[in-house]
Amino acid sequence: MQTKEGVQAQPKNVSLVRMAILMGVVILVAAILYWIGLPGALNVPFLVSVGYAVLSNYAAVLAIGIAVAMAKENQGAAGLAAFLGYEVIIQGATAISKGIDAGDKSAFVLVAGLIAGVLAGTLYNRFYKTQLPAWLGFFGGRRFVPLVTAFASLFIALLLGHTWH
């Protein structure tokens, strides 16, 4: 593992910049599949669907990507927490205010994705070593992160639900 070639070829951590480039590539690939599937091009509805699968979820991809890039050692628990927080924010806020547009192309999902990503990444680094009393031990360590993120997201949902127009 600590051989020279390993150090050279495999960057230890995926930084925010590298993550942004990677997300760009993924979105681009999805967009290409979507475009060539359109009636004006090859007219393959299947390709439109798989492209749309990623494009319509771009904000969630953003949330997961940001959290993972921010988390120490790019740990996956942060990504899971980010997705959880993203959904809690959207569902919670739209339950408070029915007027919020949380469609695929809305500004709201983008904001929710950005907040959830930063929140999960920050909370991961803060709480991933939390030791709980023995009877709650199962929820200590990394598993504590999604729990904290979900409850923090609830407050964001409360805030956005009352202020977003």
């Binding site: 299947f46 669907s49 798989v50 990623v54 959880l84 919670g92």
Partner: protein, 485 residues
């Protein structure tokens, strides 16, 4: 095969750890509790998106070093498979099964693809970044396969569900039996996942657990029977072990097993009690599994339905009381099971002279297996002991600089007890255990492991073993990693 299944079982833990959040938010938010609509909506959201959390969590769980990019890939893969297979056949619903398959495929592909090394890949995160893109492309191809194959998979699992439904109480009983028998291997999550998240259908909601929380009055038959066992049965067994301990040690044992019993009653976390006799008296553990099966059978037959998002303890019992059918019956049934467990355990221990905690022979304090449960609880508090073991251990030679934190010292001790860094090919944490892949099993110093607080060791074959260390497993592995490089 067993190893792979165990990896899957372990990978299921992360998404399962999220469930209690969903349950808490949903139940606290609903009108009969705090009546906060947006909280209930958020809880509902977690339930609705659980398949995605499974896809992410399983991919992460299987990925080397639990890398987050595997989670991103798992999410993308699952979305592509869902949309793509539905474009081919609109009746396809991947749901949990599809999410698990997506998670598994992603995890394996991620480990394979991420080995690729190339300078030009650095800008997008190296081989791991490439893996995300490749997994997305492979998923497009797989979506075609899924589109045509999934209807048959759905039919097969529906048939399995029908068959299970027809076995009724007997099926529930056997489920309870196997659920407990699989605990020592950590495989119970694999069958739990089918029963709780896939089995049955109520207005499009699948799984005994999901349907219960969606208001299906028939759901909960595969959970209700755990309440008598976890809230009363195992605490009864703990009481038996306390009273069977030597008088001079009874107080210490009561402190530890008493809090373990309280934990089981309150939260439904039973592993501390179960591990205290699992290795000492496997027969008693089998009896415990059979009694669990009987409880499931009886409770199902009586038409009692109750559920949980975490486990069958008081917290879930109170939280879900208004969803339950005949829920209060579980209390008298539980009390009966408490008495049965107490009698069975007390007399078995006395008659067969089982060395449960506090019954060890004199002078066998550190070597005797009865001390395990004590250690499991003290782990985290006995750093001094751990440190002394480290300093007296026949050092592995390499410049044994004193590591910083108590947990790091403990970790260093474990590395040494397991035969040093070069002997440990792979180490992973799973709830309360270290899963190990060792070069040479002979180099392991079991006595030293126990001194460090390990409760037991299971050797699966010549190279793989598990060491039970308690809930600190995750953090211990984190601290061990630096010593392994």
């Amino acid at each position: 095969m067993l190893g792979q299944l165990q990896r899957i079982g372990k990978a299921l833990m992360l998404p399962i750890a999220v469930l209690p959040v969903a349950g808490l938010l949903l139940r606290l938010g609903q009108p009969d509790t705090l009546n906060i609509a947006f909280m209930a909506a958020a809880g509902n959201a977690v339930f609705n998106f659980l398949p995605i959390l499974f896809a992410i969590g399983i991919a992460v769980g299987l990925a080397k070093e639990n890398h987050g990019l595997a989670g991103l890939a798992g999410f993308i893969s699952f979305e592509i498979l869902s949309y793509g297979s539905q474009a081919i056949n609109s009746h396809n619903d991947l749901s949990y099964l599809g999410a698990i398959v997506a998670g598994l495929l992603t995890g394996w592909m991620f480990n394979a693809f991420s080995r690729v090394k190339a300078k030009w890949l650095d800008v997008m995160g190296g081989g791991r970044g490439l893996a995300v893109v490749l997994i997305a492309l492979v998923s497009v191809v797989l979506a075609i396969v899924f589109g045509y194959v999934w209807p048959f998979v759905q039919d097969a699992f529906n048939a399995l569900g029908h068959w299970l439904g027809e076995t009724g109480a007997i099926g529930a009983g056997f489920y309870g039996l196997f659920n407990r028998l699989l605990i020592p291997f950590g495989l119970h999550h694999v069958i739990n996942t089918y029963i709780w998240f896939v089995y049955g259908n109520y207005h499009g909601v699948t799984g005994d657990l999901n349907r219960f929380f969606a208001g299906d009055p028939t759901a909960g038959g595969y959970m209700a029977g755990f309440f008598p066992i976890m809230m009363f049965g195992l605490p009864g067994a703990a009481l038996a072990m306390i009273l069977a301990a030597k008088p001079e040690r009874r107080k210490a044992v009561a402190g530890v097993l008493g809090s373990a019993a309280f934990t089981a009653f309150l939260t439904g976390v039973t592993e501390p009690i179960e591990f205290s006799f699992m290795f000492l008296a496997p027969v008693l553990f089998v009896v415990h599994a059979i009694l669990t099966g009987i409880s499931m059978f009886v409770v199902y037959t009586l038409g009692i339905r109750d559920g949980f998002t975490f486990s069958a303890g008081l917290i879930d019992y109170i939280l879900n009381r208004n969803h339950a059918t005949h829920g209060w019956w579980l209390i008298p049934i539980g009390l009966a099971f408490g008495v049965i467990y107490f009698v069975v355990f007390y007399f078995s221990i006395k008659i067969f002279n089982i060395k449960t905690p506090g019954r060890e022979d004199e002078g066998a304090e550190t070597a005797g297996m009865g001390g395990f449960i004590l250690d499991e609880y003290q782990s985290g508090h006995d750093e001094a002991a751990a440190a002394s073991v480290v300093s007296t251990a026949p050092g592995s030679g390499s410049g044994a600089m004193a590591p910083g934190s108590p947990m790091a010292q403990k970790a260093f001790g474990f590395v040494q007890a397991l035969g040093g860094a070069e002997n440990i090919l792979e180490v992973e944490a799973c709830t309360t255990r270290l899963r190990l892949n060792l070069a040479d099993m002979e180099k392991v110093n079991e006595a030293q492991l126990k001194q460090l607080g390990a409760s037991g060791m299971m050797k699966l074959n010549q190279h793989s073993a598990q060491v039970v260390v308690g809930t600190i497993a995750d953090m211990l592995v984190d601290e061990m990693k630096p010593f392994l490089q």
